[in-house]
Every structure is written in C-alpha cells, then in structure tokens.
C-alpha cells in the first residue's frame, strides 16, 4: 500500500470539502494511504511568489522538509499548491545559494530541505503509481456516453520542465471511467483565477470564454482538478447568468467525483450537492 504525505493547502479544506472527501474515498478504494501532514499551512500561491520570492521559497521548502522526515512523497489536490511546491522543489535543487539561505531559516525549527521527496498532484499518482489498468479493475458503473471537457489548469501543465505533467494523463483518467473527452479550442487557456484580485472583470471574461468554448464543442460536463479553477468555472456560471444573462448549464465536477461515480459511489458520498451548477443531468444519465 503506497503511503503519501497529504498536503491540503488552504482552499480545498475551506471551500471544497466535497473534493477532499471524494479524493479520500477514491484513495481508499485503491489502497492509497494518504496521511495528513502535521504542522503545515498555506503555500502562499502565485501572489506570495510575486511579492516575496524568498518568503515563498521558505514556506514551501519547509513543507517539503517536513515530508522528507518520513520519506514519503507529498500529494496535493490543488494546482496552486502543486505549482508552488513543484517550482520551489525544482528551483532549490538547482540553486545552491538560495538553498543555503532557506535552510538557514529552516534550521531554527530543526528542518532542512534536501530535495529527497517529490511533490505530486493527486491525479498524477493515480495515473503513475496506480495506473490505468488497475484503476479500470474497480470501475463498476462506467460513464458510457458522457462527454467531458477537461480543464487541466495552468499550474498542472506548465512550465512542463517543472510540472512534468502531460495532458494525456488526465485524458486517460477520464477515458478509464467510460466517459469520452470532448476536445475544445481553448483547452490550454487560463481560467482567469489568478488575475481576479487585480482585474475582476478580466478574470470573469476569461472564464466565460472558456465555458463558451466548451459548450460550443458539445461538452455535457466539465472536470477540474483545482479549487481555484473550480470557482472560476462552476461558481462563475451563476454570476454569468446574472451579469450576461447567459446560462451554460455545465456541471463542473472535481476529478475524484467523476471517478467516484464510476466506482459506484452515490452522490452524497462525493458531495455532489455542494457543486454550484446542479449535477442532476449526470445523475439522471447514470440512473436513467
């Protein structure tokens, strides 16, 4: 049974307990042991990186150093945390001066960043450590005939020399559930979450472009693997209805919810009631 340090960050536990619970339930099915990390908090997000590079390095190096103590890789369900941890890991492995500076601070807590464990996204361990063949064996309710548009999220995919994640991983993770992947022109485009504090309208417009592109390409559902992207594509649909009079009606599910459905979990177990755009069509489809 593979064991991982579970790093939740701040957004998933506060805003997406359904994501957290669905991830844990899916992990149980595949004997993935996720152990909540002790003594950690927020990764700081790209906002901290923008104003305080050293602080951002130190906070994330500290999280990595805590995980190094028990030797298990870190797993996170959030693209923001994944991007921060991966980038810091990658940077400090190659920059001796900053590493020294960061470790001087961590020493006060008896910690040291060595670079011996790897930060990983939950969907990446499903793909790499469990594997498509093993995932397939437990599927009992395939989502046949469901067209899903994937929003990967920028910090899962790029920069690829840092994230080492390929979009095909998530495509295959969708296809193993029996659903089909709907291609759409703006698949690479940002959801707009990062720019919200500086220009809210721009952030909303980016989400709108994205939803339009998905809808026009025939998507029935959307999957995301990040709370910030989730907010932009799910919650913003309510705002778009109000401000533009546009109704997209695209239920947005976190990936473990999709896999959970295919594993035969019911809607309460994966917290579908907490998704903002009602997910009824997917339930009707599966029960119909």
């Amino acid at each position: 049974m593979p064991v991982y340090n579970l790093y939740m960050g701040c957004s998933v536990p506060a805003n997406y307990p359904n994501y957290e619970a669905a991830m844990i339930k899916v992990a149980e099915v595949y004997d993935i042991q996720l152990e909540y990390m002790e003594g950690v908090a927020c990764c700081g997000s790209p906002n901290l990186r923008a104003i305080d590079y050293l602080g951002w390095l130190t906070v994330n190096a500290r999280t990595l150093a805590i995980a190094e103590k028990n030797g298990h890789d870190i797993v996170t369900p959030c693209n923001g945390c994944f991007g921060s941890l991966k980038d810091v890991y990658h940077f400090l492995k190659h920059d001796a001066d900053y590493k020294k500076q960061v470790n001087a601070t961590l020493k006060k807590e008896g910690l040291e960043f060595k670079g011996t464990i790897t930060p990983r996204h939950f969907v990446e361990i499903l793909y790499t450590d469990i594997g498509i063949e093993e995932l397939k064996k437990k599927i009992t309710k395939p989502l046949d005939g469901v067209g899903i548009a994937i929003h990967y999220g920028c910090h899962l995919l790029r920069p690829v020399d840092v994230t080492e994640f390929r979009p095909e991983y998530l495509n295959e993770l969708i296809e193993v559930t029996g659903a089909s992947v709907v291609e759409y022109p703006l698949w690479k485009q940002c959801c707009g979450a990062t720019v919200l504090p500086v220009d809210e309208n721009l952030g909303i417009r980016l989400a709108r472009d994205k939803l339009k592109s998905m809808k026009e390409s025939g998507a029935e559902f959307v999957t995301v693997v990040c709370p910030a992207c989730g907010n932009q594509l799910d919650l913003q649909q309510l705002g778009l209805k109000e401000s533009y009079g546009e109704e997209y009606g695209l239920p947005v599910l976190l990936y473990p919810q999709i896999l959970g459905l295919a594993l035969g979990m019911d809607e309460d177990e994966i917290g579908l009631g907490m998704n903002r755009v009602p997910a009824d069509p997917i339930i009707d489809h599966l029960t119909g």
Partner: protein, 180 residues
C-alpha cells in the same frame, strides 16, 4: 485568445522614440541576476510570447516589448506597469519561447522588484496581509460542511504560526507594515 475589445490608438509598432538618457543600463543585469532569468538576453524579439498570451491584446506593453524594455533599461516603465500584475501566470509565453527565455518567471522577478519599491496593487498587499496575519489565504468557516462530508471540522495538522513567523522576516512583513 480572450474575446476583448480592440484598443484604441495607433498600432503598437508606431511607438514614441525612446528617451536614451533615461535608460538604466544596469537594469538588465539586475533582472539577469534574479531567479530563472539566466536566458533573458537570449530574446531575439520574435514575439512568440505575445502570440501565446491570451490577454496581450489588452496590454499596452506586450510581453515581448516588456522583455525588450528590460534589456534596454526602461526600469521605471517596467516596474510601474500594470501589465506585470495582470500577468495570469499561465506560462503559455514561457512554454513557447524558442529561446528558452523564462518569460513568466522574469515577470515574477519584476513584481518582486516592484514590491521592494512598494509598487504593488492594494488587493495584492491585502493578500500579503492575510498571509501574515492568518498564515493562509482561506480559513475554514463552514465546518459543518466538512462534517457533512465525514471530515474533521478543523483541517488535520494545520499550523499557521510557522508561516506567519517566516513571512514576518521577509519582504511580506516589510510590504504590509510599510503600507500601514
């Protein structure tokens, strides 16, 4: 590309002449010495970064122009620009650069320099304050939702003090205190 209005005014190629005496010749070295900026001078201004950027059409200074401005030494213009803060950090520019210039990373360097001079949008300072005071950007308020999902009401293992302690001593502390 995002659907946006066309900016008014002349096309970006018709720009005012650059005031040579105002250039800061050390700016390129300053950026060059910062994290992930080693390839800065490899830029040959092909503007692939601009073609990749989903919001460059609303930027007065396009991504390739900002890189060129850094190389020329237009320090004030770059560090006072809105563009560096509007950057989505989507890394599309960086990913496509044929010269391996880490464009998005370099904009992060610019933001860090701007932050040292206190040139930060108020909402971003607000997020810094949040991190400094709470150790996180989001705090659990609806713990019943967590309990409904069979989760602990409080996030297991959460410890905010170490984060606050680190950021007190770094640029976040200076920026937030200086702004009060």
């Amino acid at each position: 590309m995002a659907e946006t209005e066309e900016p008014a005014g002349p096309p970006a190629t018709l720009i005012d002449p650059i005031e040579m005496s105002k250039l800061d010749s050390k700016f390129r070295e300053e950026i060059h010495s910062m994290p992930n900026a080693e390839e800065l001078s490899a830029c040959f201004a092909c503007s692939t970064c601009t073609a990749a950027c989903p919001i460059a059409n609303i930027w007065e200074y396009k991504p390739h122009q900002l890189i060129r401005m850094i190389l020329l030494g237009m320090r004030d213009e770059v560090l006072s620009s809105n563009e560096i803060w509007l950057c989505l950090t989507c890394f599309q520019c960086q990913e496509r650069c044929p010269q391996k210039v880490r464009v998005t990373d370099i904009f992060f360097d610019c933001k860090n320099l701007a932050a040292k001079e206190g040139k930060v949008p108020p909402n971003i300072v607000g997020l810094g304050k949040e991190l400094l005071e709470k150790g996180q950007l989001y705090t659990v308020t609806a713990d019943w939702e967590r309990e409904d999902m069979g989760l602990e009401p409080d996030v297991p293992g959460l410890a905010v003090d170490p984060v606050k302690d680190i950021l007190k001593e770094t640029q976040t502390g200076k920026l937030v205190d200086g702004g009060e």
